[in-house]
Symmetry: C2
Subunit: 480 residues, 2 copies
């Protein structure tokens, strides 16, 4: 590790983001253009995200399956909007086993088509519905400008694909999943999100409608953190996915698809990180507590180390994700900085004086300096640590929510809009523009409609752009 510090976030957000990922060893650039390597610390974070999502999927009746990586080009072409949306981004396999293929195979950019080809085979009657399948997989979208975790040619994600006997049931499913994503974001990632509908311009290629959870990053830009689509019968018609309904009539199934990707790791970094590096929410942190024993003289080491080991063992046995940093060649100060940069939520310091008093020092990552430190008794250590982890989790969510809310502004006219966007932040305002208006605003200000938030359903006002009466509220922001 060459040098510990990172460029402060406040100095250069973009540089900070890349540096913190590389120095905290979350990921690395690979020799393959646009593809990254997810290193063990970053992958452990992704595993925790995956497990917490997977638990929620299974609790709501979903099951996992696995479909082929390769999709015949002709399949993509069956749904017109879908192929238009994805064809500029495809990676194409033309040769296999030393021979040119009769039909090129696309490396999946998403799996609606190949999955519908199977559903068309599996579904016969309403008794076979609903199908509630999720897949954890890698996908490839050929990107021109890539960014670690946020936009890479290959990325990891989950993609849910469900089929239902009625439109109502399918739309309900798509909304239920968006709520599930929001619940995950808020309660696991400590990221407040705005749930809402995507505009026509921004919806998924092939969907009837797309819903999204949108989050505000530390630089006041927006990140789409998860999407849930109602596909209607579009893919069902393209693939002939039909069922005999209760009236014994053949009907196309109603479908949804939804996904969260390794982008979520980028969101966690950007929402919580600070000048010193990562700040990870305890519920997702690969290491929740790092124990750092402190000694100068060897006699002190003999007294301190066993206590540190005992504390480590107690926490570990209690199911806390804990690491003991007893590397002899490094100073405590170096270790403090190192684990701070890596975003470990709680540091436990144990020195000779702590041992004397039967206590340890707990330092929380989210509050720097003395204010974030407290001495707690070795008695009841596990309970103290657990309480502190819960407290850190809540305070990260509070902080992120306050930050976001103080950076969402109303705009009465386009000039106000431009000022707010220029200064950084979201605009929340009535909108009556056309899709073309939306594109013009984007061209002029780089801000796009992030969503029409559900919490404003039924509200309206005067459109800041057209001056017309608007029957809905939009959230605008510059987006990643």
């Amino acid at each position: 590790m060459a040098g510990q510090g990172v460029t402060p976030r406040s100095e250069d957000y973009s540089k900070w983001y890349n540096e913190v990922i590389l120095k905290a060893e979350l990921a690395d650039y690979s020799p393959v253009k646009g593809c990254m390597v997810i290193r063990p610390y970053g992958y452990a974070l992704w595993e925790n995200i995956r497990d917490q999502l997977d638990r929620r999927f299974k609790a709501t009746g979903h099951v996992n399956a696995y479909f082929p990586l390769f999709i015949p080009m002709s399949f993509l072409e069956k749904e017109k909007e879908h192929v238009e949306g994805f064809s500029p981004e495809l990676a194409v396999v033309t040769h296999g086993g030393g021979k040119k293929l009769e039909e090129p195979l696309v490396v999946r950019p998403t799996s609606e088509t190949i999955i519908n080809a199977m559903y068309a085979k599996w579904v016969r009657s309403y008794r076979d519905l609903p199908i509630l399948i999720n897949q954890w997989a890698n996908v490839v979208r050929w990107e021109m400008r890539t960014r670690l975790f946020l936009r890479t040619t290959e990325f990891l994600w989950q993609e849910g694909h469900t089929a239902h006997a009625s439109r109502e049931e399918a739309e309900e499913e798509a909304r239920r999943i968006l709520d599930l994503y929001a619940d995950f974001a808020v309660n696991e990632a400590a990221i407040p999100v705005i749930s809402g509908m995507k505009s026509e311009n921004e919806k998924f290629a092939g969907a009837v409608w797309s819903s999204t959870i949108e989050a505000m990053m530390g630089d006041k830009k927006a990140l789409q953190a998860g999407t849930s689509h109602y596909l209607g019968q579009n893919f069902a018609k393209a693939f002939g996915t039909r069922f005999l309904n209760k009236n014994n009539e053949l009907e196309y199934v109603y479908q949804t698809s939804w996904g969260v990707s390794t982008r979520m790791v980028g969101a966690v970094i950007m929402v919580h990180g600070d000048d010193k590096g990562l700040v990870l929410p305890p519920r997702l942190a690969p290491i929740q507590v790092v124990v750092v024993p402190i000694w100068r003289k060897d006699a002190d080491k003999q007294r301190v180390l066993p206590v540190a080991q005992k504390a480590y063992q107690e926490l570990r046995d209690a199911g806390v994700r804990v690491k003991l940093d007893d590397r002899p060649e490094l100073s405590p100060g170096f270790k403090f900085n190192d684990w701070e940069m890596r975003g470990v939520p709680v540091r436990m310091e144990i020195g000779p004086r702590d041992v004397d008093s039967g206590a340890v020092m707990l330092a929380r990552r989210d509050i720097p300096g003395r204010d974030g430190k407290q001495s707690v008794s070795m008695q009841g250590l596990v309970a103290s640590v657990r309480r502190l982890l819960v407290d850190v989790q809540h305070s990260l969510l509070d902080r992120a929510t306050r930050f976001r809310d103080s950076n969402i502004h109303e705009a009465k006219n386009y000039d106000e809009f431009k000022e707010i966007i220029e200064a950084g932040g979201f605009v929340r305002a009535p909108w009556a523009g056309t899709p073309e208006d939306e594109l013009r605003v984007k061209e002029e200000t780089k801000a796009s409609i992030r969503c029409f938030p559900f919490d404003a359903d039924g509200k309206g006002g005067t459109c800041f752009y057209t001056g017309k009466s608007a029957d809905r509220i939009a959230i605008f922001g510059k987006a990643y």
Copy 2:
């Protein structure tokens, strides 16, 4: 589901294998040549395999990471034997984002090369070693003849890639992993395996030596169920993966790689299945217990169903993977056959008379008919079920071990060898032949050296083929 029965295993093993996979909905053929779809029931089995392996990897200090799907063709060419071994099986991406690529990208058939490119960047000194990384991923090998789970163009696996500061440590790691695989196979999959060394002909392309766990399937053929390779410095030299050792000298790292794939699902099917279908070992079964309530009259249903629900809830709360089959439109007999075919280890029947006596009937899948049935009290139900699941697990392992051992024979000469192989089974005999002899034997009998078993280290005798004095024992068999 069209028709419940499967072709009996005893009648046509190969047909039975395919049918049972399709009818039990473990997997399905896909429209992409050579690629299969892993359906939810099959994927749940794979998840259990994955979790039990992953637990063992982590307990031995390994961490997960993720490397790119695509590998530049030039990387593969850096290790001569490696590229020779894999080049006939490659899928090649030639176009991305609508343009022809400057250098074709290979879809990973295995990741030694791309991983070494990263290790070369990460490793500086002996302090950076060992690296103990595992990856769960999909890989692609263009196969001519495919078989569900056993040989598919795309498959799922884990691939461990470790780097060490000494040859001893690396060789120890490769052996430790093989032991871990054997422990998994025996204690989770109830599959007895023979651990040993691969012959030169059969070793991994690029390895110094390859070790393997070999299992005997129900048709007495062999299946390689997992391999662990010592790579020496072959890849390190190709990629310049060097470290400063304790004497401050630059030295190439010593490496291992090892993998288990979705093939393991095929092994579980083929080792334990019977004429009626799947028989799943309780520790890996997605459903360990199926509860089937039995009633004819509606009055009986009112009494039976609540008891079945109570039993289901109790087992579920105790962490047993249980399913309640209360589908009203199907008869108990149909359900019995269905769950038998799907290999659920224990069936619980609850009828009016059971309710009267405060008991339930447990039927174990591995022992057909009355012999496998026992009535147990609703009191202490969880304990009874747990005991039975352990018992089924052990008895499956016992049965498979007895079957295997009774089908391994010694051969004194080539005629005896041919008779044994012809009749089905393994030959265990001294071997002093050359690699060319081995190929000739394979051509003439279809049997190859599965391994030189570790349990025969130091033993020898007269070679059945060459008549020469042999200093090692080989296991031969026809293999999948």
